[in-house]
Amino acid sequence: MSVYLNPFYARASEQHRDAHRFVTTFGPGALDMLPGAVWDRLVLLRSSPGAGKTSLMRLFLPENLEWARKRSPHTEPVRQALMELGAIDEQQTRKLGVLIDLDRDYRSLLDLPLNGDVGRKLFFRLLDVRILVGVLRSTLSLTGLSFPEAVGDFRFDADGDCRVEALLERLGGPDGAGIHGYARSTERSILRMLDALLESDVAEIPEGHSELYSLTVLAQASVLVGTETITAQPMIMFDDGHILERPQRDALLAELRRRRPTVARWYSERFEALSHQELLAGVGIEGRDVALVELDAIAREGSNDGKRFTRGRYDRVLADIARRRAAHQLSTYAQENQEFLELLDEDRDAALGSEAEGVIQELETRVRDLEATDDRYKLWVDHARSLTGFEAATAWRELEVLINRDQNRQPGFFEDTLSTDDISARSSAALRDAAALSVADEFKIPYYGGSSMVTQLGSHNAHQFLNVCGDLFAEMLVDVSLGRPPHLDVARQHRVLRQASERFWESIPRTVPHGRDVQALVREIVAISVAEKAKPRLPYPPGVTGTAILMAERKLLLDPKFREATPGAERLFAALASAVAHNILNADLDYSVKRNRYMVLYLNRLLCPRFMLPLGYGSFRERRLQVMIGWMRKLPALGNRPRELVVGERLNFEA
């Protein structure tokens, strides 16, 4: 059994129970993904699963804010970021965070025998009592008292507002004991109804609420504990809104967008590329009523203003999280002070090993065969010959591509000898990356490794990044248990990362709805990538790792009538929606290319090692909707899968 714990494998849920662990491993840079104004309007957070929206919300719970405020210097970066945001100051916590998980019984209410309006009112009543219980818990936590023993010390003061007094009376208030009693009886009666197994146990349906009374109360009334007035601003956060049915979601958002600037309102949901989710017209005017925060887009491209969260910053946030997570274990288990990512070697010459001479020789021979007796490339050849190891192999391959491109150009009158500066002008970092991958793929040389690649494999998703780090840390623990320094060379990293990629690929059918169809979709995209990779001139360095459809065709696919009338369209829609919702494909909407707008679909980076594809973004090849529908139409009918497709191909790690 394990003696050494792997800090990356600890579930997020474990982190959430321990304020110390949660706050000290939270990457403070993530707070810069938030816009400047988040306290007086609806903040709508959207992302793919595992991007960190729940963790971001959890940071604002009172126990975590208090820990961050009081435990300096251990929590200094997070503390500083929270102070800049206005969530805490030197003296006190400024926000009273309450987290409402919408992945609960709310959707079940729709299965009760109720008409639409009664159902909505019951939905609001259940939400109301949970918001109020959340406020009770958070307030008592903030004041060092325990729930529910101290609910009697809690009180709302309506300050003479008759409407608020009437609402409080309706909710069992104004004192905490009455509110708690009302909440208990509401939860019990509703949940008993949902859980009833015998017809005779289905009780009378309680009366509902026509709006969220709790938000009106929180906006108007003061909160007191004993004689102390709580000045922290109520901050009600709703997580996983995508679980709700559409009418419930719309009703909730309509309530949240009502102007209540004294109550901070945050709402999170999963990003869905194939829905009308992006339409904010019903929610409010962006900027004034609602702040839309698309975490995946910000992670990839930076924030809209270009200043608060710059492009490329997310990689540093991830590196910081990795450092914090592993620091204690590395120090304790291996007396290692280097940061986790620094222990990942990047020496590719070592990976080439004794094969170096043979590989370089073969590549050089190919270039010589291409340029024959042409002096035009003499300087380029001399430059490549001056290099050694993996750098030399990459240079020869790069040269092969450049010469291929050059020989396909329009011939000029004067065929001058090309200089080494001409390589710089005609080549690029992307082409060198493509050349390196090409060499590694052709000669079976370890390639995937190093801190930069490991960060890229996270695919801008914190959860995925932590899992990849966990696999590498597990490999380091082998060294630790043998008393060796936990440094991984490229060969070992390559093996671990390819295995992680294979496991991710194999998990798709088990974890993702329509998983087999999603795999088929990925295979088609990979086929595009492989075809482009095989071209001698490598036209799209570092390589193609995605596809795209026109936004106009996406709109067609969203139309149920079109899907019904077009065989294969429904299956494509389901597979695409599932692939994006579960992070197998990353979608970018409204990407502009040559006066056209596209929905670009990139492979999750963790799939790339399995198919020996590059990790850089940038290149995709668009396909028409009918072509994509054709991909689905050639699949066997659902339920009639031939056995060989069931087993699937597997990577041979012995080769």
Partner: protein
Amino acid sequence: MPHQPVHARNNAGPRVAREATKPSFLRDVGHIIVDVSSLPSSLHFPLIAAVLTSADRRVIGFPAEVQVVACENPSVDAAIIELGVTEAAAVGGFRGGLEHDSEPKATVIWAPVIGENVGHSLSAVHDFLVPQDVFPVLPFPSRDPRRADNLLLQHQVELLDTFQVEPANIIYADERNPFDLYRTLSRLQEKFRLALGGLDTTTLALSTHSSKLLSLGVLLAAYEHQLPIVSAPPIDYELGDVDLSLLASGNQIVCAWLAGLPYPDPAIPSLALSPDTEH
């Protein structure tokens, strides 16, 4: 019984249960047998619980004799691949106080019954429950004596690294006897109640990722002690590369008599055997 679509998966079971226990549905029936061989736990758990509740309450006109039958084959179970894990949720009828925000936060102890290839659903349930401690149940004794070891190896990352299960926490239960698991879980529940009752509210939450027989043990323990059961069922199933005709010889039909009198009671004269009665 007509099928009605539901908005939340875990409502399908209670709906079926309510229909099946209506007086009009089971008129003039003295003996009810529930065949769970091809029913998912989200359906047969609420159904059996509803039937047992009606029998225990001696609802007028409801059958007093309740049996559950299942055709069991661990080799076939191991070849079934679950596709697409859904969000974890409490099984309908078995919330057991789990989702009452207004109650004090209970310490949750989780006892999952482990089967083959269930890593993803284990993770989903773990994330839902956020348990303080985990007591995995492995099948032993079992037809394949190495099955428990193989399951532990298959799920070692989840159990040992992610959930950080203590080796002493592992529980063993007879693969073919649901009452063995029922008694084990009942003892576990009692142990926590006695040890921790004075300190904090503790909830023993169950989940089953294994065979029908062991699932029945989970159901009986949950029914008797009002424990919550959580599941993250798959969306679909697929059969691996096996020859079912070769595995069929391992099929075993099991019957569990849950309510009523399996044997005549000599204390009740009307049920006493007469010398001429054949059996």
